[in-house]
């Protein structure tokens, strides 16, 4: 049923966009704009953190969740691929986390080609690995995000099939 399919996709994409906005808010408000994509952002929020301690791991949670939702929307006709999407993206996010462990971070940063330095966003790659901190709780939050994504997609599927 194409109409139901489109509704599912729209729901998944809307949820993903909402989640990414939450992730941006964490960086913009609680972390004073300490991210490449917020260069120039002047955070005037100097009170208690808006998201509290949850904000420490919220970005990794919502990012893995949002990306899987978008991928699930793209691959909506092939619902059997959902477990592969979940596991695949969880693995990729974990690799980025593990890449921040010293001395691996140095190897990763030094392996980046020089032309990255001239490409917006990619130029922040070395900083991401060298200045980022590996945290097992981030890995946990990525896992929770992936699991939540799986549950949400399956729930929406069931809702539409009724």
């Amino acid at each position: 049923m194409p109409r139901g399919q489109h509704r599912e996709e729209a729901t998944l994409l809307f949820l993903a966009a909402l989640l990414l906005v939450v992730g941006v808010l964490v960086y913009a408000v609680d972390r004073g704009g300490a991210a490449y994509f917020l260069t120039g952002w002047d955070s005037s929020h100097d009170g208690a953190a808006l998201f509290g301690p949850v904000g420490h791991h919220l970005p990794t949670f919502v990012h893995s969740l949002a990306v899987i939702l978008v991928m699930a929307a793209v691959l909506r006709p092939w619902t059997q691929l959902l477990p592969a999407i979940v596991i695949g993206w969880f693995t990729i996010e974990c690799l980025f986390e593990v890449g921040q462990i010293s001395p691996l971070d140095g190897h990763v940063a030094s392996a980046m080609p020089a032309w990255f330095d001239k490409v917006p966003v990619l130029e922040a790659g070395a900083d991401y690995f060298m200045n980022g901190t590996y945290d097992p709780l981030d890995v946990l939050s990525i896992g929770l995000g992936a699991a939540a994504a799986y549950w949400i997609v399956r729930t929406i599927e069931r809702g539409d099939s009724r």
Partner: protein, 370 residues
């Protein structure tokens, strides 16, 4: 043809490519906060008066091999004919504490070579000696230097030359050395340094001593270069910047000027900008260490290639400065120096033949906000 759920277009799956790229970029984009450069949408060094740039109390600094295949590894050629080369494995990561006075004059206070950083030492002699070979130096604990130029006050590193592993642990006034977990032997710092040249000592002790000296040499050159970073702006104005070295306080060694000079030449034009090069030329430049009968005489050139400086436009805070890059960018600090040790005896300075070393090759260095 109308497709349905049962007959989807396989091309649709291609949307996964931009989605994945976007997803990866959004991960990377969470890094590099506070930084700024041409592509970052903020100000660069060209926009900021360097004298007004704020400095943080603490910076990270990274050392790595010069990526230019035409540049040799940083190598010390000892008078004995032994060559010692540094092959930095990835990045050598460190933390540096500084103080800044009201004139923005920077004083380096202390630094920490971070645990798990590592480099290889390649030792080659003619004829071959027992310390020859390639061995790896790995920091097993943070190596803390409370004073610049002084031995560390705490920390530990291993010197590994398969199948042997030498543990070097900093203790009060010196080190403890242990081979393959065996009994630890204590040495004062002077004893430890002298092990290298003592051919009666076992090879593993001399290799450990060499590794200790390697830290001193590598970080010594890093701080030499770091020390002139705040003079580079001046060099672009006076170009070249010429300064007199210390004058010998007695008869100089044969063939050596009573007072040499050091020249910093900027090869760029206009305003100091990214990618600029400097030539740091030492003409028989003598450095008098007060209260020390042995001093250093430098002769030769240090090329400072591919200058980089990035300022956080929002806070006008220095984010990054150095030569070369961490990700394979060309440039760095490239030395071609002869370093001689002068000794004074009743007002007469001499240089012993075995106290002359040549330093050549290079490394990249970047100081970066944490």
């Amino acid at each position: 043809m109308i497709r349905t759920d049962d007959n989807p277009s396989p091309w649709r799956a291609l949307w996964l490519i931009p989605v994945s790229v976007f997803a990866v970029l959004t991960i990377v984009a969470t890094g590099g906060g506070g930084g700024d450069d041409d592509g970052g949408g903020g100000g660069s060094i060209d926009d900021v008066d360097p004298g007004a740039v704020n400095l943080l109390p603490s910076y990270n600094f990274f050392l790595t091999n010069d990526s230019d295949p035409g540049t040799a590894l940083l190598t010390a050629s000892l008078a004995s004919g032994t060559l010692v080369s540094f092959d930095i494995d990835g990045l050598l990561a460190n933390t540096l504490d500084i103080s800044v006075d009201s004139n923005n004059e920077v004083t380096f206070l202390s630094y920490v070579a971070r645990r798990s950083s590592q480099f290889d030492l390649l030792v080659m002699s003619m004829p071959i000696t027992p310390i020859d070979g390639r061995f790896t130096v790995i920091l097993t604990e943070d190596l803390t230097f409370d004073t610049i130029g002084a031995p560390p006050t705490s920390g530990a590193f291993d010197v590994i030359k398969s199948p042997d592993s030498i543990s070097v642990t900093v203790v009060a006034g010196g080190v403890e050395l242990s081979l393959n977990g065996g009994e630890a032997i204590s040495y004062t710092w002077d004893e430890f340094a002298n092990l290298l040249d003592d051919e009666t000592q076992e090879a593993w002790l001399r290799q450990a001593s060499l590794a200790g000296g390697a830290f001193e040499l590598l970080y010594g050159y890093f701080f030499d270069v770091a020390d002139i970073l705040d003079e580079l702006e001046l060099a672009t104005v006076t170009n070249p910047l010429v300064e007199s070295c210390d004058m010998f306080t007695g008869s100089p060694p044969d063939g050596v000027l009573a007072q040499g000079e050091v020249t910093v030449t900027w090869t760029g034009s206009g305003e100091l900008s990214e990618g600029d090069d400097f030539v740091w030329d030492f003409n028989q430049c003598w450095f008098d260490e007060p209260n020390d009968v042995t001093d250093e005489l430098l002769d030769g050139t240090v090329l400072l290639e591919n200058y980089t400086e990035t300022v956080d436009f929002d806070t006008n805070t220095l984010f990054e400065i150095g030569f070369g890059g961490l990700s394979g960018q060309p440039g760095g600090v490239i030395l071609d120096l002869t370093v001689s040790e002068t000794v004074e005896d009743n007002g007469v300075f001499t240089i012993a033949a075995d106290d002359v070393i040549s330093i050549y090759g290079g490394f990249a260095m970047i100081i970066q906000a944490p």
